[in-house]
């Protein structure tokens, strides 16, 4: 313990004394599990929860869960925006909680010795999850590593709803200008130009930071994906390729640079943060942008209409190059969302923990996770769990998503299975209902192009992340330069050459091997 504390300090010193980064996140100190102690759970705190609660311990469903399973939990939350840093520092310090909710490289965590393998524990102590895995071999395939190991108690999406975001457009402006919803890139250009000229807005197409704070925000990726490539590795005719070095990427940059010059895209795209992004939407400076159906539109539309009752946001199909083409990339989630709970090596009561987590896969736990407490947050109407006014018209003025987040865990990844009946009621606005249908129309195509939930060996994973770390930084920087014109498009070949120098071929090879192993499972 003392030694590890030193190691933590040592790392910080070694990393040129990055003071202040390790603050918080070590609340578990001095607490040793000996069977009766609470189970400490590390999870990032969803922003919809943090509006009303300080910790997930206060969520009604968690309290009910503790009662039903007889366990005690103690949630630890990293500071918002510093999740990655704090997670890495926590791993490096080896002071682990009992359970970590993560989304990422499970095999590496296991090979590093941070988490344990769960196969036997699931066989013996998680009958509900085991049943699901036995009945859905496809899910089991996704969840298992190449050697058959299972490292996470998963968050599953077995129902219809697997696409959660897409591009939305100001329908009221389209109507006013007598335009149709754009389908192809050319039509998009016409529409954006009309927005620019007739409405005089600064960001006809807004993109950039959220939800991942990268310059290549999802909206930009959607337009890139119209060219049939994406901004990272994907499957092209079953083979792994790296999108940015494909010739289509150059065509995309060419177009985006033109759009930038003509003022069709947000000039501040590289510096946007959530605040400025929201502000541009709510100030009616944005004509079209990417957002999520639930958390995004559920928030923007009511707020917009408060100031401008005519404002309307409607979903637009993912753009394509030529009329009649089908979009391939739709952001469809796999059945296993990739998120899950891991049991760390510090956990002194893994059986009890797995048993408790398995509760969410049983009938009772499933209802608790998705609907909360019967009589309080939902009532059964003809066998259909219907949310009460506490959720749909919250007396404290909370929005639907906020009220849900206060009582149960349906809107963000957690252990258990998402229920379609939750999504059906979650999307209250017509625009949201249209969106979910529109965005999932081509979602099966996505299975052909996206990399399945593969697992890499430690060596592969280290090598891959090292290569991709350099490439990603370089790609993002060069993307900006090409778009704003700081780098002429003629230098695209140099860009490709540099990425090759970073050894992108090896990265692709690693992915290909893993995909082959996945297919052979």
């Amino acid at each position: 313990m003392r030694r590890h504390g030193l190691l933590g300090t040592a790392l910080l010193l070694g990393l040129t004394a990055l003071a202040g980064c390790s603050g918080g996140g070590s609340e578990a100190e001095g607490q040793s599990s000996d069977g009766t102690d609470p189970i400490s759970i590390w999870a990032s705190l969803n922003t919809n929860v943090s509006i009303t609660l300080k910790s997930m311990n206060e969520i009604t469903a968690i309290q009910e869960w503790e009662k039903a399973t007889g366990i005690q939990t103690e949630f630890q939350h990293p500071a918002v925006g510093a999740e990655n840093e704090q997670f890495n520092v926590m791993l490096a310090s080896s002071e682990l909680p009992d359970v970590m909710f993560v989304y990422g490289d499970y095999a590496k965590l296991y090979n590093d010795g941070s988490i344990i393998r769960l196969n036997e524990l699931i066989d013996e102590h998680a009958p509900n999850l085991k049943k699901i895995l036995d009945e859905n071999p496809e899910v089991a395939k996704q969840l298992k590593a190449d050697n058959g190991d299972i490292y996470a108690i998963p968050h599953l999406r077995l129902g219809e709803y697997k696409t959660f975001g897409g591009t939305f457009i100001r329908q009221d402006w389209l109507d006013e200008l007598g335009l149709e919803k754009p389908e192809t890139l050319d039509e998009w250009e016409t529409v954006l130009k009309a927005f620019k000229e007739s409405k005089g807005v600064s960001a006809p197409l807004l993109y950039g930071a959220p939800p991942k704070m990268t310059t290549m925000g999802p909206a930009a990726a959607n337009f890139l994906e119209a060219y049939g490539v994406t901004n990272t590795v994907f499957l092209k005719d079953g083979k792994v390729v790296y999108g940015p070095i494909e010739p289509e990427y150059k065509q995309f940059l060419d177009m985006f640079h033109r759009w930038y010059d003509e003022g069709l895209i947000d000039p501040d795209f590289a510096t946007n943060d959530q605040k400025t992004y929201d502000a541009k939407i709510l100030d009616s400076q944005a004509g079209a942008f990417f957002t999520y159906i639930g958390g995004g539109i559920g928030r923007y539309l009511p707020a917009l209409q408060e100031t401008d009752p005519d404002a309307d946001l409607t979903p637009v199909q993912f753009p394509v190059r030529n009329k009649g083409e089908e979009p391939m990339f739709t952001g469809r989630s796999w059945e296993w969302s990739g998120a899950g709970a891991t049991i760390t090596k510090s956990n002194k009561q893994p059986e009890e923990t797995v048993k408790a987590l398995d509760y969410f896969f049983g009938e009772e736990g499933h209802m608790l996770k998705n609907f909360g407490v019967e009589g309080e947050t939902y009532t059964m109407v003809d066998g259909y769990p219907t949310y009460t006014a506490e959720i749909l018209e919250n007396p404290d003025g909370l929005s639907v998503v906020q009220a849900m987040a206060k009582h149960f865990i349906a809107n963000y990844p957690f252990v258990g299975e998402d229920d379609d009946r939750y999504n059906e009621q979650y999307y209250q606005l017509q625009q949201q209902k249209d969106a979910v249908e529109l965005f999932s129309k081509y979602s099966e195509n996505t299975l052909e192009v996206s990399i399945p939930p593969i697992s890499l060996t430690t060596e592969e994973s280290n090598e891959y992340s090292k290569i991709m770390n350099d490439i990603t930084t370089y790609r993002d920087e060069m993307f900006i330069k090409f778009v704003v014109g700081a780098e002429p498009i003629e230098n695209f070949d140099k860009f490709v050459e540099q990425i090759k120098k970073f050894n992108v071929d090896r990265a692709v090879e690693i992915q290909q091997d893993a995909v082959d192993r996945y297919n052979a499972r």
């Binding site: 040592a10 890495n88 791993l91 080896s94 010795g113 350099d470 993002d476």
Partner: protein
């Protein structure tokens, strides 16, 4: 290191030992040393106990953690721990020197530091000299107070202000457009970053840094001024021949300290100000280490090596500056 042995001799002197010119030490000599230490301890118990917490502080928080720096020479994985991980020698250093970003972050680090030194170092001296010439006490104190208040504002707030001011439609842009310029996002342009960074640093630290010079100024014997006035020296002459030489030792010591930290650009401020647009001029060693080591990737060994490289360069610079100062002004830190 020569610095260490010198320090060692310094301790001996402080303990009342005769000064030795050669650093050779034999068994009996060190036994003597301990015996003398013990005697001295008996004599000055209270002082030794008083210094103990400080020594412990440095041992525990400054020296022990250095043990972790060995992961720079290993392929550190969390599971295997510091000792269990494999040795890879200078692999991580080689990787860094051959990295695409090596020259860029090294150059940015040096250039930003150099700007800080070039513009940031003389600024408080000038202000101190100006304040020193003021005869109206009230006015002097007001200026002083106003100028050092920014020092007490959190760096996060300062950077928030700079970001807001330089955004489209912000204060800086309002001024620029007033004089006929165009409204643009100043912090997205790599060519502005160094100016904004250096200028805001000077603005924030200017007043506070003058305090130490003003203290040095007040130590100058006023009779020197009187004498020079009798000799008919002008104000400027007085500054040149009395004031500046009077505070020169202070200037040199602060300069040595500054040079020692030349590579140590404050990463908080850059992280708060930069964005991928301006990595070209803004990305420095410490921000690179932060991104690769903690926030984006978890390449602990590699980034420790990079951090260590920076510390070594710093150390060399510090020794160099100390030597230089000794040659130039016979002032030195150690």
């Amino acid at each position: 290191m020569s610095g260490d042995s010198r320090k060692f001799r310094g301790t001996q002197q402080a303990l009342g030992a005769p000064r030795r010119l050669s650093g050779s030490s034999t068994g009996t000599e060190s036994a003597n040393w301990f015996a003398r230490l013990w005697l001295n301890y008996k004599k000055n118990k209270a002082i030794y106990w008083m210094v103990l917490p400080v020594v412990l502080y440095f041992l525990v928080f400054k020296y022990l953690p250095m043990y972790g720096a060995i992961i720079a020479f290993k392929d550190y994985t969390v599971g295997k721990g510091i000792w269990g991980s494999e040795w890879v020698g200078f692999q991580h250093f080689r990787d860094f020197f051959e990295s695409y970003y090596f020259w860029r972050i090294l150059k940015n680090t040096l250039v930003l530091s150099f700007y800080q030194l070039l513009f940031g170092f003389p600024a408080p001296i000038l202000l101190a000299l100006l304040l020193n010439e003021l005869r109206h006490e009230m006015f002097k104190r007001t200026v002083q107070t106003v100028s050092y208040i920014p020092h007490f504002i959190s760096i996060v707030v300062i950077c928030g202000m700079v970001v807001d001011f330089s955004a489209r439609g912000g204060l800086f842009n309002s001024i620029i457009t007033f004089f006929g310029g165009t409204d643009s996002s100043l912090l997205s342009d790599p060519s502005n970053f160094r100016t904004l960074y250096t200028a805001s640093s000077i603005w924030q630290e200017l007043g506070f840094s003058t305090i130490i010079y003003l203290a040095a100024l007040s130590g100058i014997n006023p009779e020197l001024y009187d004498a020079s006035r009798v000799d008919g020296a002008s104000r400027l002459r007085q500054v040149w021949h009395i004031t500046l030489p009077g505070i020169l030792p202070m200037i040199m010591i602060l300069l040595i300290l500054r040079i020692g930290g030349l590579m140590e650009i404050g990463f908080e401020k850059i992280i708060l100000l930069y964005n991928p647009n301006v990595y070209d001029t803004a990305d420095v060693i410490s921000t690179f280490v932060y991104r690769k080591g903690i926030s984006e990737g978890a390449e602990f060994s590699y980034t420790t090596a990079v951090g260590l490289f920076q510390s070594v360069v710093n150390f060399i610079l510090l020794l160099g500056a100390n030597r230089l100062s000794k040659v130039l002004s016979d002032n030195k830190l150690f």
